[in-house]
Point group: D2
Chain length 143, copies 4
């Protein structure tokens, strides 16, 4: 069962700032793009109409250790850290591509909650649909 | 009747790029923020539920003539250039604040179309609601 | 001595997403804009050439508890939580404006490090300049 | 000689807005990302230190004709429309991927100027370096 996913991102010009390096908020974008690609790899869209649920985040964090520059490539390594009835915790380790030895440049975390809309359109936490839950596994603690 | 609106924006850090200046796409953001503030100044939200219409853009353009830097302040001067049954054309002139003589740094244009959702949720051009249309006037050609 | 700063932000259209609410990453933008306004309130630019230092973040996090919508106004309440020789920790409490009683919608944190460029252009942690350090105080633990 | 380049983009969640569709400014981002990939396909970085030049835009525009949604894929087709001593004009045609017949969803334009920094760090238009200029050709007018 899948518990991880890898995806490479390139630092685009609009993602840099006047310090000449990547703007920190770009990592949160990479994390979300990677999470959604992970869902597609399972055969689902994160906002699938059939499932009728969404996965807004209730927590997002990132530690930054190395300043990437324009056109650097970075691998986002998503791993499922926790799976509860109504929430999932992801960890993201970012490593600069083409660096030898590999450089870890950032490490992030998302906690997402499975929600559905009630009759008034308000979001309410609900159990993760079985078709998703049975496909996702918590990653082993190997690093 | 209102045909213009002015709003000052500050170049924020996330809006700069590795060239040390404002990223060009920031102007499109300023233009949209200014347009929505113009609507609020008329007593409406651009996505008002009562009106049941929206104003997506079908055209956006901007010419850039001076490189603003972090924390520079810029005045966006919106003027209504055309008002048709179902569309509005806005011009935006951007002037650097606290420059003497004033420096025009960019000049942009939006064409927005008034739309409503049909039964299938698709957007369809509709006449601008009277309550909006009667409040907006085309600016005189004084510059 | 200043240990806090308040600034109101409006949820702009480009900051919403297809769920009809604010995109989570907008909060990181608000946090940074507020931090930079705090510095200006002390008479400094966060990237002042005179000081020759910058304040990149090594940590950013946020917890999200309430879904803001387009044009909602939110107050960011910055408080200095820790002041070390080379780093500052800020906490940000976000409260929806015009809600009675006030609704806390998110709570975030930045850890920023004071850096200067060495001869090769690489960033290196350095003590916070005295002119800044003596103006900033850790907030009392009153909440 | 190269006069065109194609690149597929996916509409990411952060690029949508509360209307449930792509935010218009996302196209300007796709245009820039495509332009920079075109330069890499020629063996250059758009901000190459060896060349010592940059290519800021002096004009950006886009017409929008079809509302893309989250996870839609769109092909950006860049074509060189004009090549002058110091500037290049690009046209971008966006077509929805996996639509039959193909749907053109937007059409954009960039005018970029080749600049170098003078002794004071100010940008000044200069001739496009020969190594770039001789690789780029104006596209035939076949559509």
């Amino acid at each position: 069962m899948p518990y991880e996913f890898k995806m490479t991102h390139r630092v685009e010009w609009a993602e840099t700032d006047a310090a000449g390096i990547i703007h920190f908020a770009s990592y949160f974008r990479y994390m979300e793009v990677t999470e959604h690609a992970f869902f597609r790899s399972l055969g689902h869209s994160i906002v699938s109409k059939e499932l009728g649920v969404g996965f807004p985040r209730v927590h997002a964090s990132c530690d930054f250790t190395y300043p990437l520059k324009f056109e650097d490539e970075v691998e986002a390594h998503l791993r499922v850290r926790e799976k509860k009835e109504k929430s999932i915790t992801y960890e993201f380790i970012f490593r600069k591509v083409n660096s030898e030895p590999p450089i870890e440049v950032a490490r992030g975390k998302f906690v997402v909650v499975c929600v559905a809309r009630d009759g008034n359109g308000n979001m309410k936490a609900v159990p993760i649909p079985e078709v998703i839950a049975r496909q996702i596994e918590v990653a082993p603690m190997d690093e």
